[in-house]
Amino acid sequence: MRRALLVLAIVAAGLLAPGGGAGAAERLVTSLSTHRVLINSVFTGAEVVLFGAVEGDGTTPVRRGGFDVIATVVGPRQTLKTLRKDRMLGIWINVDSRTFIDVPAYLAVLGTRPFDRILPPDRLRRLQIGHRNVVLPQQIGPDIADVVTDDPFRQAFLRLKTERKLYIEDPTAVTMLSPTLFQASIPVPAEAPVGTYEVDVKLFHDGALVTRSTSAFEITKVGFERFVATAAVDNGLLYGIVTAMMALMTGWLASVVFRRD
């Protein structure tokens, strides 16, 4: 029911909203099921639903069908050090590392069908679509640059992120509800960090980019989680004293409750 209403809202918005992709006969209207994902004490992950509709701009007849959609969701940027273990003096320790500068903490690439069937590889690379083509800048000496796609650190980084469900590549996650209406669910794992998540939706027809639409949602801690996380960082000393007092209270209560003499 909620989804149906949302679709109606999108259609309505599409009819009213002006503007669109330059030179294209179609416009893309998208909406998210929520713009704020709240982390409370029972948060175990969430799902943000993306809805979209292809609308004509009134000047040229709208193509019916044959559309493809690729949605890229990029989470807040973070700097991560990827470490490689090697055997040294008989034990396995981290010997080598690369620092990935300002890479997405979260990256989901969702499509209507395998990306290489939507676009040729060089176009995918230029549009930076998919894990293979995303730019992951590394600190290399004094320079910051992306490396070749088969770089072991880059591959390990993508693998680890994918294992933790923070990087997602799903070429069948976008469902066409009708030739011009589509829907996709964006999985947000519990580990996803707080911040702004930008949703970029690209519309393709016959191997060409027709238009795109961007929106965003935000992940924030609320209530008790927010209070604790903020207190721990902003008033570290006070937070520590309160935690220590809590420990002493618990210990004292136990010794009173379980007193045997």
């Binding site: 990827t82 809590m246 209560l253 136990a254 010794s255």
Partner: protein, 309 residues
């Protein structure tokens, strides 16, 4: 029922964490130790980052040792003067440990140092405890009766050091230098490894300083209590890594488990207890050693750089 931890940034099952608190509390009550050496690895195992685990366990140990110390206080089994002298060294050691913890974290070698310290310390202490208790059990079997209460060891060079102080309750007259030294090492290890160090402190006080056994556990608990409470404050103030919610679940489980553990412990012979504790310590140490020596399935790992939390 899952609950989201605000600092560790991951959801955990409340009942699992509570059960871990009870289990470790049971062992800590049984042997009169804090149990940090078990709790920290368990937390790392369920996905808490080593840094958050070490910082959070300090408050859990503060709770269980305060509850234990109060019990010993009622029985007048604490040498406050000795505890105070140990504390002087302990607090300096804790500050030094938190400082090194912060430094190693910045260098990216904290996990290795935590793992190596566990291997070295736990394997060696565990082996010593097992060897000593097995000898005691064999001796008992041979004699078929308890040996006369023997003052452990004779006077060592430690007793020849200057700055001698009289500790009335322990009937000791020793230099404060080894007392400060032991306190320093305990505080230092506690801050870096997330252990109270009761399993090392108690033997150290008995064998190095000849503290009588009736006051040794209570006194060691006072030291553990103060170093761990201050480690909680210091870790919070410098690294912002103490998860109060995780700590609360752990400590409530811990103090309950400790009561049952203490009852179970009283029914057992002391050398049997020491053997079991020694095996447990050794097992945890070997578990860490396996991780270091066996070829890992995944060669790569990543971690967030400072300032991005």
């Amino acid at each position: 029922m899952d609950i989201y931890l605000p600092i560790a940034d991951l959801p955990v099952n409340v009942f699992l964490v509570f059960a871990m608190g009870i289990a470790v509390g049971f062992i800590s009550g049984m042997f009169g130790i804090g149990g940090g050496f078990l709790m920290t690895p368990l937390l790392i195992f369920i996905g808490v980052s080593p840094a958050v685990a070490v910082a959070t366990v300090s408050s859990h140990i503060a709770a269980s040792s305060f509850s234990g110390a109060l019990n010993y206080w009622r029985r007048r089994a604490i040498d406050l003067a000795l505890a105070f002298m140990l504390l002087i060294g302990g607090l300096i050691g804790t500050a030094a440990g938190v400082w090194l913890f912060t430094l190693l974290r910045a260098l990216g070698q904290l996990d290795l140092v935590i793992a190596l310290s566990y291997v070295i310390l736990l394997s060696s202490v565990g082996s010593l405890m097992v060897a000593e208790s097995v000898q005691a059990i064999i001796r008992l079997q041979r004699d078929k009766q308890a040996p006369p209460a023997r003052h452990p060891g004779g006077h060592t060079w430690l007793h020849g050091l200057p700055l001698k102080v009289r500790f009335k309750q322990s009937r000791l007259y020793v230099s404060v230098i080894p007392v400060w030294g032991i306190g320093f090492v305990m505080g230092f290890l506690g801050a870096i490894m997330g252990i109270g160090g009761g399993f090392i402190l108690v033997p150290a006080l008995i064998y190095l300083l000849h503290v009588p056994t009736n006051v040794v556990i209570g006194t060691s608990m006072v030291l553990t209590l103060v170093t761990m409470a201050s480690a909680t404050v210091m870790h919070s103030a410098t690294n912002h890594l103490v998860d109060a919610l995780l700590a609360l679940i752990l400590m409530v489980g811990g103090v309950i488990g400790a009561q049952f553990g203490a009852q179970a412990g009283q029914k057992m012979r002391s050398e049997r207890l020491r053997l079991m504790l020694g095996l447990l310590v050794l097992a945890v140490g070997l578990r860490f050693a396996v991780n270091l020596f066996v070829t890992p399935g995944e060669m790569f790992s990543f971690r967030l750089m400072e300032g991005d939390r």
